[in-house]
Amino acid sequence: MAGFALRRVAGLVLVLLTVCAATFAIFYLLPSDPALQACGKSCTTERIAELHRQMGLDKPVWQQFADYLGGIVGGRTIGTGDLAVRCGFPCFGFSYQADRPVWDLMVDRLPTTASIAAGAAVLWLVIGLSVGIGSALRKGSGLDRSLMAATLTAASLPVFFTGLMALYLVVQVAGLLPFPTYVDFGDDPLGWARNLILPWIVLALLYAAMYARLSRSSMIETLSEPYIRTARAKGLPERVVVIKHGLRSALTPIVTVFGMDLGTLLGGAIITESVFGLPGIGQLTIDAINKSDQPVVMGVALLAAFFITLFTVLVDLLYAVVDPRVRVS
């Protein structure tokens, strides 16, 4: 088990290094010159060369990459002379626009994104699994068909539509809730939830629909397995058959998808954050892309890759706990 975990973590580091190299290569190849942007309109060739030197852009590309990696691991000093700045661990460089370390920007934004993702995840798991399992147990009934029709509708509605409709109806027309702003959980837990409830519902609606369909088909498949018949032949009550014997197996594919989805969402719920104007990682990404703020774009790309790979590894480890066949082989 320890060897298994170690191999997975080594894999994670390898994936992150690859993503790092790929993003670095992409931005190195891009035509836009950050020195040109920093310099402004009245710029001389000498000034640009000086800026290149200060930003370290005059060094060979492998040297720049090594500096970047070194900064992530141990922090580094960027630039030379008067303009030299210390960028502490973990250093993802400086934002050209905000003139702050990329790491600080991400740390500022992460609680918003994490709050959106966590709350939505709880909602969609509860709703999605209940609908899916309920449908599976009444397969072919009127309830099953109407629930599945509802999930199809919910899955086809884009967040920018449901989000705007929710804002208009709940906030504008009915005035039931304030327009969402981010309130820190530590300061005011109730306000935190009140402000995030709309984004949670809107985001969860989409995922709950997919999870309902997934858990329904997974449950139907499991319930047709011979070992379920064995469980019934033992005289176990239907509740035990469904939960202990059925759900246990039916959850396995859902755990996989859930890990990936949560990892992806932590990298920024771009559309949800935009619709509700919440300052999360997604908003940071959009702003950075619009303003060609390359260090920030690289930083959020790496952060997203980190979360996705991290959750994939977590799912793998969880698999070994859930399925004894994985543990042995």
Binding site: Y227, R229, T230, R232, A233, K234, G235, V240, P324, R325
Partner: protein, 323 residues
């Protein structure tokens, strides 16, 4: 009184293309300490019958009468039948790998039924699980309780299934093709094991199979099913020695015999079993029957197994007893 009494059992499935009567008028009795083998091709209704006895049909209409130790199963409250399952009657299935839950240790899977039916605690149930695992011939049972089905060989898995069935000391054991998924060498061991636990516990065993070799080895009585109904019923040895129904004779002609002529060709039964959505009029076997006669109502009226009748009887117009 017999432990198991099945009278005029009918099992009907509703399909998109109409009602399918998979079992149509099956009757037999089975005493404690005896083994009855139900033999038939795929789709003859033998497994459907066994699931009906266990009360495991969820979307089929079951009619007629099934009494286990005097308790009626057909039409009984679901919860009452559930309490009998695993306790009074237990079942061993064909493929032990897919019939065991992959994610639970075998000890837990055996102990779970014992806890449920006897209200036993975890420790007592664990002890009982180790006891039955030892009884079915699994070495070092205490240690193997914690292992998972995939860590056992095919034969050992079927032993686990049998241990699971025995855990609550049932009186009726239904084995549905218990050796079909196993190696030939292991098949014999499993049949011997079933025979041994039957003797030790005085079990009534209902053995479902399509393998006449299994019948010859294990059964006291044999019931041959064709297209949802019994065509011949009698003591196993008598049926093999003097088959009375043309279908039974056909089945035996398909088998090579050690004491027979090595040059003699095996004769398959021509044609296929009928669709049960629209079974043929008259005798269901008559379209394939080599012995049918125009003077007899083979194509018109359906011969039924005489109830009650002699110990060895068949449902065929060729025979006096049926007319």
């Amino acid at each position: 009184m017999s432990l198991l009494e099945v009278r005029d059992l009918r099992v009907t499935f509703t399909t998109g293309r109409g009602a399918l009567r998979a079992v149509d008028g099956l009757s037999f009795t089975l005493d404690r300490g005896r083994t009855l083998s139900i033999v038939g091709e795929s789709g003859s209704g033998k497994s459907v019958s066994s699931l009906a006895i266990m009360g495991l049909h969820r979307d089929a209409a079951v009619e007629g009468s099934i009494e286990v130790d005097g308790v009626q199963v057909v039409g009984a409250p679901a919860d009452q039948v559930r309490r009998m399952r695993g306790r009074r009657m237990a079942m061993v299935f064909q493929d032990p790998l897919s019939s065991l839950h992959p994610a639970y240790a075998v000890g837990e899977q055996i102990a779970e039924a014992y806890r449920l039916h006897f209200g036993a605690g975890r420790r007592a149930a664990r002890l009982r699980a180790a006891e039955v695992l030892g009884e079915v011939g699994i070495p070092d049972p205490k240690r193997r309780l914690a292992e998972y089905p995939h860590q056992f060989s095919g034969g050992m898995r079927q032993r686990v299934m049998i241990a699971m069935a025995l855990a609550c000391e049932p009186e009726l054991l239904i084995a549905d093709e218990p050796t079909t998924a196993l190696d030939v060498t292991v098949q014999a061991q499993i049949l011997e094991l079933i025979a041994r636990v039957q003797q030790d516990h005085g079990l009534a065993v209902l053995m479902i199979t399509h393998d006449l070799g299994v019948v010859a080895r294990a059964a006291d009585e044999v019931l041959i099913m064709y297209a949802g109904a019994a065509v011949e019923h009698g003591p196993a040895l008598t049926v093999f020695a003097e088959p009375r129904h043309p279908y039974t004779r056909g089945l035996l002609n398909c088998l090579p015999r050690l004491d027979g002529d090595a040059e003699a060709a095996l004769i398959p039964i021509p044609g296929n079993p009928p669709s049960l959505l629209s079974p043929p009029d008259g005798c269901r076997f008559h379209p394939r029957c080599a012995e049918r006669q125009e003077r007899l109502p083979c194509a018109v009226s359906r011969p039924l197994l005489p109830q009650p009748g002699p110990a060895h009887r068949a449902a065929c117009h060729l025979l006096e007893e049926t007319r």
